[in-house]
């Protein structure tokens, strides 16, 4: 076998390999289909709006909300602390740059349940298992948290805690979304400082 034949064979083999290998820079699912199907109907991949309200009121850096709506809708109002990744730009915004922290929970939300669940499958398929969906999206947030009312004569301690949680989250949501953009960060920071001083920390 002469040198020309050897080079030709190597080139053909390399071409064959490249033909079937994933494209460079192309995203592909890492998880096995069987594993993905296992959690498809799993309630553990959902977070309720009340759970989000608790996280918001505690304001601990253990979660990151991801708003999948358009930039314009996000600017009008959003759940405090959210980052905006419009669903259509899921890949454009390079998931590895905003889903990089494996120590925290990423919670997707849109207006409803469709885009957030598409995004959840994409994120989990790419190997980001710490992603969840806020069940019902912003429509459920408004229905449960923003429009919560207590009507009745007696309130149980559990109901009271739930109502207080929703009220605090609603007040925070309304206050921060009523501010001009220039004051939003200062407001959030002052809220954190106030919480720290109440806990006995330093200002």
């Amino acid at each position: 076998m002469n040198a020309r034949q050897k080079i030709s064979i190597i080139l053909v083999a390399t071409s064959l390999m490249l033909l079937f290998l994933p494209g460079i820079g192309e995203y592909s699912f890492q998880e096995k289909p069987g594993k993905m199907v296992q959690w498809i109907n799993d309630d553990d991949s959902f977070v309720t709006v009340d759970e989000v309200a608790v996280l918001l009121n505690k304001d601990e850096p253990v979660f990151q909300l991801i708003d999948l709506r358009s930039e314009e809708a996000f600017k009008l109002f959003n759940i405090p602390g959210s980052i905006n990744i419009p669903f259509q730009q899921f890949f454009e915004k390079q998931p590895e740059t905003w889903l990089y922290n494996h120590e925290i929970q990423y919670i997707f939300y849109g207006n409803g349940d469709v885009n957030s669940n598409y995004a959840l499958v994409l994120a989990r398929g790419l190997g980001y298992e710490n992603c969840f969906v806020m069940k019902g999206g912003l429509n459920e947030w408004f229905n449960t948290v923003m429009n919560s009312k207590f009507s009745g004569e007696r309130i149980t301690p559990r109901e009271n805690a739930l109502f207080e949680n929703r009220l605090k989250a609603r007040q925070y949501f309304t206050a921060i979304n009523s501010l001009p953009d220039s004051l939003k960060i200062k407001f959030a920071e002052s809220k954190r400082q106030a919480a720290r001083s109440l806990d006995g920390g330093c200002n």
């Binding site: 192309e26 995203y27 199907v37 469709v114």
Partner: protein, 150 residues
Amino acid sequence: MKEILKKYKFLVVVLILVVLVAIRFLLTDRFKQGAEKNAIPAFTHSNVMQSSNPKFMAATSLIVYIDSPKQRFSAHSNILAINSSDILTKSTLQAIKKSERAILVSDDPSLSARCWMLMAQKGVTNHFAYFTGDEEDFKYQFQPDTNSYH
């Protein structure tokens, strides 16, 4: 044998590579490469099929009921009822591929969305999700408190 191996060692290497690539290509327990491309119909909403669409009730469409939805299209002749855990089984995928188009129907938009995306990533291209079309509309109004910063 040694003589043959020595003489055709390049051919042997190529043969091994081809076999490895073929095995990888023929493995069915994996998703199709190019997640972004597979998801395009979801980004453009071209994967949504409403019951008012004439294609919905066409005889060439396969209605796939996932987890026994309440809403039934009994007039339709071509129906497949499955559990959500069976969406990627060989028989389900084969039935969908045989039909002109498959429409996933479930009571829960979350489940329909998840099933649609998983099938798309498995390489199915002729499937739609049955939605009413207003699932992602915002149904409330936010009233800012303009006194909050005065």
